[in-house]
C-alpha cells in the first residue's frame, strides 16, 4: 500500500518536474524569439535549434533514472542509467567492450563490403544490359522476397557458428537493397540525358562516369542507408543466436547471469553505433549529392 502511495507521489512530482521542464524550454524559445527582434538572436536561435533534437533523449534518461531511483522500476528488470554507465566504464577498463565492439564492427564492415559490392555489380549489370536483366532479374526479385534470416538454420549447417556464417548472413542481407536500388536508379535515369550524352560522343567508361553513375547515385545511396539498417539487424540476430564474441554475444552472455545492466548497455551500443553510421551515410549524401535540390546546403 505504502509503495503505491510512493509511486503516486513520485508521478505527481515527476509531472511537476516535466511541466517545469517544458516551461523552461518555452522560456528559452520565447527568449530566443524576443532577442530575434532585438537582432541579438544570431547565436541563440541556431543554438536552440541544435539542442532541440537532444531534448527528448535527455528527458527520457532523466525520467528513467528517477523511475529507477524511486523503485518504480525494479533494478533487476531494468537497471538505472547510471548503472549502465558504470557497466560501460567497467567493461571498457577490462578491455572486453572495445574488443567486442571492434569484432562486431569488423563483421558488419566485411559483410557490408562483400554483399554491397556484389549487389552493386549485379544491379549495374541488370541496369545497363537487357540481356543481364532478362537473365537474372526475375530470380533476384523472387529471392528478394525470402527473409534472409530464414537462412540461419541452413547457414549454421554450412558454416557452423564461426565468423563466416555471420559475415555471410550480413552480406546476403545488404545485397538485395543495394542490388535493387542500383538497378532501379540506372533504369530511371532520364532517357533524354542519355540521348544527349550519345550526341556529345560519350560512350563506355566516360558515359558511365558522367551520366550513369551520378544519375543513379541518389537511388544507390537510398539503398545504402537501407542496407546499413539491415546490416545491424542481421548482425544482432546472428551474434545473439550463435557466437562467442561481439556485442550480441556480450548481451546474451550477460543475460545468463542476469546482468541486465550489460544487456541494456549492448542495446544502447547498437543504437549509438547505428546512429553514427546513419550520420556518416547522411554526410556522404550531402557531399555526393550537393547538386540535388533536396540535399543542397545553400
Amino acid at each position: 500500500m505504502s509503495e503505491r502511495v510512493k509511486v503516486f507521489c513520485f508521478f505527481s512530482s515527476e509531472k511537476k518536474k516535466s511541466f517545469s521542464l517544458f516551461r523552461s524550454a518555452g522560456a528559452v524559445f520565447r527568449a530566443a524569439g524576443a532577442s530575434f527582434l532585438k537582432e541579438r538572436s544570431k547565436e541563440l536561435v541556431p543554438m536552440a535549434r541544435a539542442l532541440l533534437p537532444s531534448v527528448v533523449p535527455v528527458a527520457l534518461l532523466i525520467i528513467w533514472e528517477l523511475l529507477s531511483a524511486t523503485g518504480a522500476v525494479p533494478e533487476r528488470k531494468l537497471p538505472s542509467p547510471h548503472r549502465v554507465l558504470l557497466a560501460f566504464w567497467h567493461l571498457t577498463r577490462t578491455g572486453e567492450l572495445p574488443h567486442d565492439v571492434l569484432i562486431s564492427t569488423l563483421r558488419a564492415a566485411t559483410g557490408f563490403a562483400i554483399g554491397g559490392s556484389l549487389g552493386f555489380c549485379f544491379g549495374l549489370a541488370a541496369g545497363i544490359s537487357r540481356l543481364a536483366e532478362n537473365l537474372f532479374d526475375g530470380t533476384m526479385q523472387m529471392l528478394r522476397m525470402v527473409p534472409h534470416l530464414a537462412l540461419i538454420p541452413l547457414i549454421i549447417v554450412w558454416f557452423g557458428i564461426g565468423e563466416s556464417a555471420k559475415v555471410f548472413l550480413v552480406a546476403v542481407g545488404v545485397f538485395f537493397p543495394i542490388y535493387y536500388n542500383t538497378y532501379h536508379g540506372i533504369r530511371t535515369i532520364d532517357a533524354g540525358l542519355l540521348e544527349m550524352a550519345r550526341v556529345q560522343g560519350l560512350t563506355g567508361p566516360a558515359l558511365f562516369r558522367e551520366v550513369i553513375l551520378p544519375g543513379a547515385l541518389p537511388s544507390i545511396l537510398v539503398g545504402v542507408r537501407y542496407a546499413l539498417g539491415i546490416m545491424w539487424l542481421t548482425l544482432i540476430v546472428a551474434e545473439t543466436i550463435a557466437g562467442n564474441s561481439g556485442i550480441g554475444f556480450m548481451t546474451m552472455n550477460a543475460r545468463e547471469f542476469m546482468q541486465t545492466d550489460i544487456v541494456v548497455l549492448g542495446i544502447l551500443l547498437y543504437a549509438v553505433l547505428g546512429k553514427l553510421i546513419d550520420m556518416l551515410a547522411r554526410f556522404i549524401e550531402i557531399e555526393a549529392l550537393a547538386w540535388h535540390p533536396s540535399f543542397s546546403q545553400a
Binding site: 533524354g192 540525358l193 540521348e195 550524352a197 550526341v199 560522343g201 547538386w291
Partner: protein
C-alpha cells in the same frame, strides 16, 4: 590541326579571338552539306515521312516548320542518327550520320544539362581534356563566363539554353541541329536568343537546321524555310533578306506566304 581549330575560334567575340586566331575570315567550307534521297520513315503502318529528297548547302541555315505531328522532329532525328529511315539514304558530307557524329551537335528544347555537373563541366561534356579551354571560350561566347561554377538548377530557362548552345558550340561542330530550342522561353528571351544563335552561326560557319513551329522565328533566322506537311516537303522557300532582320514588310510577306500555305490545308 590548325585548320580544325581556327574556324571554331571564330564564333568567339572578336576581342577574344584576335589574340588567338587573328581576324580570320570564316571558311564557308566548314559547314557540312546534307543530302537526303528517297527517305521514308514509318511508325507501324503510318508513314511519317514519305520519299523525301533534300539538299542543303554547306553553311546554310535551314528552318523546318510544320504542324505538330507533321514529321519535322522525325526528320531532325534522322539527320542526327538517333533514328533510322525505313527506306532511302541520309548523307552528311558523304557520310552516314553515325560516321559524321563527331562533327554534329544537337540543341534540345529542354536543354538537357546534367544536373550533377557544374555549368562549365556541362559545356565541356565529351570534349577531350586538351580541348577544355574551348569550353570556357564557348561559355564566354554566350555571355555566361561568370556562371561557370554554378549548378544548372540555379539558372533561368534562357540561361540554361545558352549553356546548351555553348555545349553544342564547344566541339566546333560542322552541323548543329536545333530542336525547337526556344520553344519554352518567354518572348523577350526568345528575341535575345535568336540574335545570339544568328551571331554564333555567322561566326562559326556551320550548317544549321532549326525545327520550329514559330514561322516568324524561321523567317528571322533562316536562309531557307521548308514546310513539311503529310510527310512531304510542301514548300521550299528561300529567304533572301539582309541580316540582322527586323520586323518589317519583307519579313511579314515571307511569314504570310508560309502561313497561307499551312492554313490553306486546314
Amino acid at each position: 590541326m590548325a585548320s580544325l581549330v581556327q574556324p571554331g575560334m571564330s564564333f568567339l567575340a572578336p576581342s577574344l579571338t584576335r589574340d588567338i586566331a587573328g581576324d580570320m575570315p570564316v571558311s564557308p567550307a566548314h559547314g557540312l552539306p546534307i543530302r537526303l534521297r528517297g527517305v521514308t520513315r514509318r511508325f507501324g503502318t503510318r508513314a511519317v515521312l514519305t520519299d523525301i529528297d533534300l539538299d542543303v548547302a554547306p553553311g546554310q541555315f535551314v528552318a523546318i516548320v510544320g504542324r505538330s505531328g507533321s514529321g519535322k522532329s522525325t526528320l531532325l532525328r534522322l539527320l542526327a542518327g538517333l533514328d533510322h529511315p525505313d527506306a532511302g539514304q541520309v548523307r552528311l558530307g558523304g557520310q552516314s550520320p553515325r560516321q559524321a557524329a563527331p562533327g554534329l551537335r544537337i540543341m534540345f528544347q529542354d536543354g538537357r544539362l546534367l544536373p550533377w555537373r557544374r555549368v562549365l563541366d556541362n559545356v565541356a561534356l565529351g570534349l577531350p581534356r586538351a580541348d577544355h579551354p574551348r569550353a570556357t571560350e564557348a561559355l564566354h561566347a554566350v555571355g555566361l563566363a561568370d556562371r561557370a561554377r554554378d549548378w544548372p538548377r540555379v539558372l533561368s530557362g534562357g540561361q540554361k539554353q545558352r549553356v546548351a548552345l555553348a555545349r553544342a558550340l564547344a566541339a566546333d561542330p560542322q552541323l548543329i541541329l536545333l530542336d525547337e530550342p526556344l520553344g519554352a522561353l518567354d518572348a523577350l528571351t526568345r528575341l535575345e536568343m535568336q540574335s545570339l544563335i544568328e551571331s554564333v552561326w555567322q561566326r562559326g560557319g556551320f550548317t544549321a537546321v532549326l525545327v520550329t513551329h514559330d514561322v516568324a522565328e524561321a523567317a528571322i533566322l533562316a536562309d531557307r524555310i521548308l514546310l513539311i506537311e503529310d510527310g512531304a516537303i510542301a514548300l521550299d522557300l528561300a529567304v533572301d533578306l539582309p541580316r540582322p532582320r527586323r520586323a518589317g514588310a519583307a519579313l511579314a510577306e515571307i511569314e504570310s506566304r508560309v502561313l497561307d500555305r499551312i492554313l490553306r490545308r486546314a
